[in-house]
């Protein structure tokens, strides 16, 4: 005969019921059943008390509360990369330009950048026609460095096939120096660029720039305007 509690809690496992019956209702174990009951009550009482005191769950979760550790968060304010393009060195033809760029982003709008690039100057028309040499080969090595400041305006690029990329159009200006024709000259540069973020940390750049410095190679001093068009790839870290 089963009552409703037995039906609910003990019916699915008869053998447990059997053990309980044997333990508690066998006359030979009369004393034991009291001991067992006592132990059960005491232990459960102790259990409840300790669990209340320490406020610990019976089943301890294996994940501890996480505190945000700032040093573990990946920050990506630096951008480093390379570029290739063409530079028109005034009077000395256009040449392939190779360079590197590092940028530090102060905020969503502003960034610092440092750029170094190399090229090789060609021949002037005068040299070609007159069959003379104005510069030695080593003096034709052209390089510049520039550090400056830029302003970003964010946007998005939508391409066919449901591709969306974040972009930045930026204006940048800088100062630095140009080494060419055995001379180091203070140089201003200014220009604009378009940055397409392929992922959060890889970006494609297309830039157009002007570099201005004074030269006195041909006697009188004049401004040399060098236009640069380049494209590059940068990585944030």
């Amino acid at each position: 005969m089963e009552n409703w509690t037995q039906r609910i809690f003990l019916a699915p496992c008869r053998h447990v019921n059997g053990v309980v019956k044997r333990l508690f209702f066998n006359k030979e174990l009369t004393n034991m059943r009291f001991v067992a009951l006592l132990v059960a009550m005491l232990s459960s009482g102790v259990f409840t008390q300790t669990s209340l005191a320490q406020e610990k769950p019976l089943i301890a979760p294996d994940v501890k509360p996480q505190v945000v550790d700032e040093s573990l968060i990946d920050t990506e304010n630096f951008e480093v990369g390379g570029f290739a393009g063409v530079i028109n060195i005034e009077d000395f033809e256009s040449s392939i330009l190779l360079g590197g760029r590092i940028a530090y982003h102060l905020s969503e709008h502003f960034f610092f950048e440092g750029i170094y690039a190399i090229a090789e100057g060609g021949e002037t028309s005068f040299e070609k026609l007159g069959n003379v040499q104005l510069l030695t080969d080593s003096d034709r090595d052209y390089s510049y460095y520039s550090f400056g400041f830029g302003v970003n305006t964010p946007g998005q690029l939508f391409l066919p096939g449901n591709y969306t990329f974040n972009t930045n159009f930026y204006l940048a200006g800088g100062i630095g120096a140009t080494t060419f024709a055995g001379d180091d000259r203070f140089t201003y540069s200014f220009g604009a660029g378009y940055q397409v973020l392929l992922t959060d940390w890889i970006a494609l750049h297309i830039t157009a720039k002007e570099h201005v410095y004074k030269v006195d190679l041909l006697g009188e001093e004049k401004n040399s305007f060098n236009s640069e068009f380049s494209s590059g790839l940068t990585f944030f870290f």
Binding site: F9, F24, P57, P61, Q66, D74, E76, N77, E108, P154
Partner: protein, 260 residues
């Protein structure tokens, strides 16, 4: 009778123990943060927080998270944090919003932003400057470490682009600012270094010269925002030559610097 009583009391006991255990465990599991253990988690405490598609105000808001939602922190760019929620979408939220949230400990998110009046967040600084060195253009870069609130050690590299020569200068300077709490803070500096003089190829005297030099100067720092500042300074150089008289040069510069 007794048998029924014992059975009932035993059953009740089992129910109590099991149910209390289950209840406690459930409570704990319900409060527990999502299981993806690699990323730090924060919980939204404001009514809602806006998500943008990129790390700038110019990008559109495309989603909001409500109070109580847990967000995983993926990466940070300037003042924006990329987050994801339990449904797997990701987007960018403002740091200012993030700093109002709580983490797994129930405390506010412990990210210390560099602040003008917090010395501990601005031990390192670096900057780029430009100006004039005896009527010739000069470009400089430096890095400095603040040993105390008042004293810092700086390493300088400069290039002077003169008409007659190109000069490279390396300096080690010690800098003292008496009023570190002022937004516009004056400073004094003393330094020593080397000058590497490289005359132009077109000049007759093409011998390179290396000279020792010392400098003293003063300047101002103006804090634009918590991370960056404008700096301007004047330095007087004494160049120790092998000739009978030593040379002197005055330099002024202005530039931008950043704290790390």
């Amino acid at each position: 009778m007794l048998r029924k009583l014992i059975t009932k009391s035993l059953t009740l006991l089992i129910i109590l123990v099991v149910s209390s255990a289950v209840l406690q465990a459930e409570l704990v599991w319900a409060e527990q943060i999502p299981v993806d253990a690699k990323l730090a988690k924060v919980q939204v405490t404001e009514t809602f927080v806006e998500w943008r598609s990129g790390p700038a105000e110019g990008f559109p808001v495309f989603h909001v998270s409500e109070r109580g939602e847990w967000l995983s922190l993926i990466r940070r760019k300037t003042d924006w944090m990329k987050v994801s929620d339990k449904s797997g979408r990701d987007g960018w939220i403002k740091m200012a919003d993030l700093l109002l949230m709580i983490d797994g400990s129930g405390e506010k998110v412990n990210i210390v932003e560099p602040q003008f009046d917090d010395f501990n967040t601005r031990r390192w600084e670096a900057g780029l400057m430009s100006g004039e060195f005896e009527n010739a253009a000069v470009n400089s870069a430096y890095a400095g470490y603040w040993m105390t609130e008042n004293l810092s050690l700086e390493l300088w590299g400069s290039q002077v682009l003169g008409d007659a020569s190109e000069i490279k200068i390396i300096n080690l300077n010690i800098l003292h600012q008496p009023f570190p709490d002022w937004r516009v803070s004056p400073f004094f500096t003393l330094g020593a270094g080397m000058l590497f003089i490289n005359p132009k190829a077109t000049l007759a005297d093409q011998n390179n010269r290396d000279e020792e030099t010392m400098n003293a100067g003063f300047g101002l720092r103006y804090y634009v925002s918590n991370r960056y500042f404008v700096r301007m300074e004047v330095k007087e150089y004494k160049v120790f030559t092998n000739r009978e008289t030593n040379e002197e040069a005055t330099e002024w510069k202005i530039g931008l610097s950043v704290f790390f």
